[in-house]
Symmetry: C2
Subunit: 265 residues, 2 copies
Amino acid sequence: MVDGATQGGAPADRPRTMYQKVAADLRQAITEGGYGSGGRLPAEGDLAQRYGVSRGTIRQALSVLRTDGLVTSRRGTRRVVLGTERVQSFGELLSFTRWARSIGEKPGGRVVGLTRRPADETERDQLRLVAGAFVYRVLRIRTLSGRPAMVERTVYPEHIGALIARLKPDAVSHTVRLEEQGVMIADAQHTVDLVRADADDARLLGCRPGDALLRERRRSTDPAGAPIEWSDDRYLPGTVAFTVHNSAASGSLARRRGTPPPPNN
Amino acid sequence: MVDGATQGGAPADRPRTMYQKVAADLRQAITEGGYGSGGRLPAEGDLAQRYGVSRGTIRQALSVLRTDGLVTSRRGTRRVVLGTERVQSFGELLSFTRWARSIGEKPGGRVVGLTRRPADETERDQLRLVAGAFVYRVLRIRTLSGRPAMVERTVYPEHIGALIARLKPDAVSHTVRLEEQGVMIADAQHTVDLVRADADDARLLGCRPGDALLRERRRSTDPAGAPIEWSDDRYLPGTVAFTVHNSAASGSLARRRGTPPPPNN
DNA sequence: AAGTGGTCTAGACCACGAT
DNA sequence: TCGTGGTCTAGACCACTTG
């Protein structure tokens, strides 16, 4: 049977299925340079024999690596190693806290404003709410090793916001707290552009109004497709860069340290 | 048998295989609102029967839609429509010209500088060249309906650059010209961040040195994994935004009109 | 308990690249 | 021509969600 982009559990989890085990194994071999950059992988049939699974399972594993941009694939020739870079997990992308830790910085956060009120039309549209529904709006300053890095404005539907409202103002990771209460994020849509700091941004980030900021707007949904949050995050210049790999039918986004050396693979 | 992220020909092409036909069919039904936003798709088995194919082929088709962020998928329940937005093609992302046309603007371009010289270390690293190899560097201003929008600095390995060097300075699309000569781009790695305009940027874009620009750096490779170009594109504020959908194991990047209304799905 | 999608098998044939 | 990955089939069993 066929499969597709294989949702598979978060790559952060321990591999549970055969194709995840194979993928993890091959990923390690690749990132450790076992095949070299530009090197060729064994044929699918060989891998199937080596791991004692069907060719289909091997293809499922390889599709994961292809989506991550680690290998090519084309008819007629063996797969080629495209890059040997570590791939960022979905969790690191969604959580400022996890991202900060993954790059060796100490994350901080403080809620500056929290209100509950009826959703306006844009919010109803984004969160798929009916007229009259309430939302929570959270304004929050995020720091890296004590220095202001980002201003976050997040809108939650009422049942999620109620959980957020109970957290301490300086709770480090709202995302992790939500996970602990069983709120899972399965999909996210991101928009990255450049925006001018308004008065609030300037005050909280310590810049001047009108200064340019890198903005990421994000809409996240749970496994059932129900909106969980709608956020507008504004980063000081030099704080982050966003990277994406894509091919004819794939791609993924990663958040990286600001103005990093040119991507190396 | 299993399959994966299904490289399938460019979605721009006419569907050639069964799963592409099914995917195109379902995509149209979804974007036309046939299932509604948040609606549920028929079961895989039902679709298999309706199209007269195996369940595996249906799953392959659905994996395409899942990668595009159009539908969810989880065990136990039918797939749910996540969004009904048009998905941008790989070609529109890679080619400024095609993108501009897709949003109804008239694209323009003019080569301002073209040099051939030995690659420096960074260029050798990016383009996977050996010491002593030559590269072409192209500096180019891009316009939307006559107004400057972006400055493009692209480095090509010698065999590709030689083709570019033969084009007229105001050739509209280098990407399309390369395609006509059989140069195909199969994968690309993007990095998006914020950068200050240098003297060249300011002169060509008509802004002041030090002004903030949205930068996209890109490394593209052919189907065999060989680097084709390494580019540094700098957009005037408000010109573009980049969007990405991702989930546990997928994602894709799209270029949009600058500071658009909040993403609608 | 029934319905549904996720994983896996064991084949088949085809399209393409390299030799 | 031969090896390789791409497409497709027809099953099987399992994990999960929902009533």
